[in-house]
């Protein structure tokens, strides 16, 4: 197998280096060797015809759940990394809410070892904020970082104790690690299962107010002002959250934020339209059309930095249930690009901003390598056909789980090749595992 890949004829979109135009990309020895209009094709190169396609830095997802160890029936590091590749993602950050929680070096090492065996997407472990994510004692951030963690999170279990959150922000400063926070006040959430509003009232489902998220974001921004440190707000979903983050950024606070494709594309009305469909149950819940509009604007203007999938595989046993009982979350890696591309086609987002929110912005939020095709950057590339239409067949997803609201839906935009470290790890139409 050749060490040189020659990608010709594609439209290279690399916001990090300001390139948008037809270029040839040469990858050599795991690095980007050249991006230029005219390049002689090296004799030993493997050529990829990218005419009519986008050639972008490999996508980086700051928020996925790979379920290993402990819940391998939902997903493994290997199947999750394969799903990433099929979606154009070359790097994923794996949340620590596995069983056991990844709050120590051996948990982190296990994730990295599984990822190395799979040899697909790069997997960056996220360590726990508190031991066991129990919200009581700080985890060992120095040890987690030395083992390979790039950020800290108690995702799924918000840090309700403001005193602990303060200490976590402070302690993480010693290691320069960002805290990526799942913001919901559990007392306000109560037994809520969907966004609080007219739709929940109509459906007779218990609501979760937007303020459950907003008060926690406001709290943590205040703590950030007190402590310094680095805060990253996971899955922003409401207008009030956007307002708080926008204000904090204006004041110069070191905060970044992400939004999921589903919070950009779907509303609480979809819960009703689907007839209590549990593939529309997630946390945070799908919000009102007004909240969705605010998130779209915030992504477009950079208030929200990155798109992250919150890829959350669950088995049918956990989803084929009454709405109240079903678990939260959907798989997202393989549908993120077309779902977000639709926003471009609807005029909510520029093409370059879309690519930036999937590449450069997440890389810089967590200080990860990649996110650019600048010379010398890691040879992580996504090649995408923006026109290709396909129908989502959950049986053909690489993820082990099938919990997607886009089941049976026709989407436009598809990843055709994914290259990690100079190796093609995904090629459309090639053997699917």
């Amino acid at each position: 197998m050749s060490d040189v890949i020659f990608i010709e004829g594609g439209r290279v979109i690399d916001p990090a280096s300001g390139v948008d135009g037809v270029r040839t990309v040469v990858l050599r020895d795991g690095r980007v060797a050249e991006v230029a209009e005219r390049v002689e094709r090296p004799r030993d190169a493997r050529a990829v015809d990218a005419r009519g396609r986008w050639v972008t830095p490999g996508f980086i997802d700051l928020h996925v759940h790979l379920r290993e160890p402990g819940q391998e029936y939902k997903e493994t590091v290997a199947t999750g990394a394969a799903a990433a590749g099929a979606g154009g993602f070359t790097s994923v950050c794996a949340m620590p809410n596995t069983r056991p929680v990844n709050d120590n070096a051996s948990g982190t090492a296990l994730g990295l070892a599984r990822a190395a065996q799979a040899g697909l997407a790069r997997v960056y472990p996220v360590g726990a904020i508190s031991k066991g994510s129990a919200g009581e004692e700080l985890a060992e951030y120095g040890e987690l970082q030395a083992a390979g963690c790039v950020a800290l999170s108690d995702d799924g279990r918000p840090v309700m104790n403001a005193g602990l959150m303060r200490r976590a922000l402070e302690y993480a400063k010693a290691f320069g690690l960002p805290l990526t926070v799942h913001e919901e006040d559990l007392h306000l959430v109560g037994k809520g299962v969907m966004h609080e509003g007219p739709v929940a009232t109509r459906l007779g489902l218990k609501g979760i107010p937007a303020q459950a998220e907003e008060v926690m974001i406001l709290r943590d921004l205040a703590l950030l002002e007190l402590t310094g440190g680095r805060l990253h707000v996971a899955h922003v979903s409401t207008r009030g959250s956007v307002r708080a983050i926008r204000d904090a950024k204006r004041r110069g606070l070191p905060v970044t934020a992400e939004v999921t494709p589903h919070h950009l594309a779907l509303t609480d009305e979809d819960v009703a339209a689907s007839g209590y469909g549990t593939d529309y149950k997630m946390n945070p819940p799908l919000r009102s059309a007004d909240d969705v509009q605010a998130c779209r604007e915030a992504l477009a203007d950079g208030t929200i930095d990155a798109i992250a999938t919150d890829h959350a595989p669950h088995s049918a046993v956990e989803k084929d249930l009454e709405f109240d009982a079903a678990l939260n979350g959907i798989v997202g890696l393989e549908t993120a690009f077309p779902v977000c591309l639709a926003l471009v086609k609807q005029g909510h987002l520029g093409e370059r901003r879309l690519v930036e929110a999937l590449t450069r912005s997440p890389a810089s939020a967590f200080g990860l390598p990649g996110g650019t095709l600048a010379r010398g950057a890691p040879a992580d590339v996504a090649i995408l056909d923006p026109a290709a239409e396909w129908v989502v067949d959950p049986g053909r997803l690489r993820s082990k789980s099938r919990n997607t609201p886009w089941k049976g839906k026709r989407l436009a935009g598809r990843c055709t090749h994914t290259i990690v470290n100079g190796r093609i790890v995904y090629e459309e139409g090639r053997s699917e595992r």
């Binding site: 060992e140 040890e143 602990l164 200490r167 302690y171 010693a174």
Partner: protein, 313 residues
């Protein structure tokens, strides 16, 4: 009197000259301690009360030896067991003790500001033996004394204080004295242990131990408390010692050969200092113990005896 001061409560209030007055006298006091017969009659007939609301055998014994070496009468009053449990207030206790007409009241209390409150209500001199996280002036002075003895001077020297700065009265007394003698201060510890606005005391803050100790002339290592209930500042002592503890390898790679290591004691061996470093060539921890007696003799002498009060008597 020490300069203008009738009490020794906070080095923040002491000038360079006032600090030097104690340190210079402590040199002669240390001479006394080296004599075969370690006793001088300087404070004969004077009485000193040790009023300790917090257990501290070391500091209490050090004041006790200092007082006895100067031939003063000494009463140890452990407050926790007696009066406080009966609901007596701090001021009541101090006034009752004052009725015994001591010349000096040495007070240790868990609440910052307690010695000052006592001083406002008694006629005798008050020496703080540590109040909360406020100050521990005799420790600050003995640290200065030890550094002068080992380094010749503090002028232009760099001193790093490492550990839980937020809860440390030792760090505050060092910070209020060493810069007055010309030292440059670096503070180091996990960010959870660095108190807000401490840079205003004229120190640089470092989270990285190597950055703090490389090139330093002296290091003050603070004792790490295993657990602070309800407010966890560190995940545990294991990670603390890995990142902020000094072991032989780090000492060999990062420290100047002449660098001295101080510790107010008792050392948590294996946490902030490995045993090899605590007992190694950089350590002056045992010198500090002897210097502590000399410095406390100087403080007691100046406040209970001194030329002025002797003239009055």
């Amino acid at each position: 009197m020490i300069g203008r001061h009738k009490h020794c409560i906070a080095l923040a209030d002491y000038s360079r000259e006032e600090i030097l007055e104690v340190l210079d006298l402590a040199v002669s006091m240390k001479e006394v301690l080296r004599r075969p017969i370690k006793k001088v009659p300087s404070l004969r007939g004077r009485s000193i009360v040790n009023l300790f609301f917090e257990a501290s055998t070391r500091t209490r014994s050090s004041f006790e030896i200092a007082a006895k070496t100067l031939s003063a009468d000494l009463l140890n009053w452990t407050a926790s067991a007696s009066s406080v449990t009966k609901g007596e207030t701090l001021i009541d206790t101090a006034r009752n003790l004052e009725a015994m007409r001591p010349d000096v009241l040495v007070i240790r209390h868990a609440a910052g500001g307690a010695p000052r409150l006592v001083a406002e209500h008694v006629g005798c001199a008050v020496v703080s033996a540590g109040d909360g996280a406020h100050e521990h002036p005799s420790q600050g002075l003995l640290d200065c004394f030890t550094l002068r003895e080992k380094l010749g001077t503090l002028e232009g020297k760099t001193v790093a204080i490492v550990g839980d700065i937020s809860h440390s009265r030792v760090a505050r007394s060092d910070l209020h004295s060493m810069p007055k003698l010309g030292a440059k201060m670096r503070l180091c510890g996990p960010p959870t242990m660095i108190p807000a606005g401490v840079e205003a005391l004229g120190a640089t803050v470092h989270y990285d131990l190597r950055e703090a100790v490389e090139g330093a002339d002296a290091i003050v290592m603070l004792r790490i408390q295993h657990e602070r209930i309800g407010d966890p500042l560190i995940p545990g002592t294991r990670e603390y010692s890995k990142f902020w503890g000094l072991n032989a390898k780090k000492a060999a790679e990062w420290l100047k050969p002449s660098c001295v290591i101080l510790h107010p004691g008792p050392v948590n061996r294996g946490v902030e200092l490995s045993p090899e470093v605590a007992d190694g060539p950089h350590s002056v921890i045992l010198d500090q113990v002897q210097n502590g007696v000399a410095v406390r003799m100087a403080i007691l002498y100046l406040l209970a005896g001194g030329t002025e009060s002797e003239a009055k008597a």
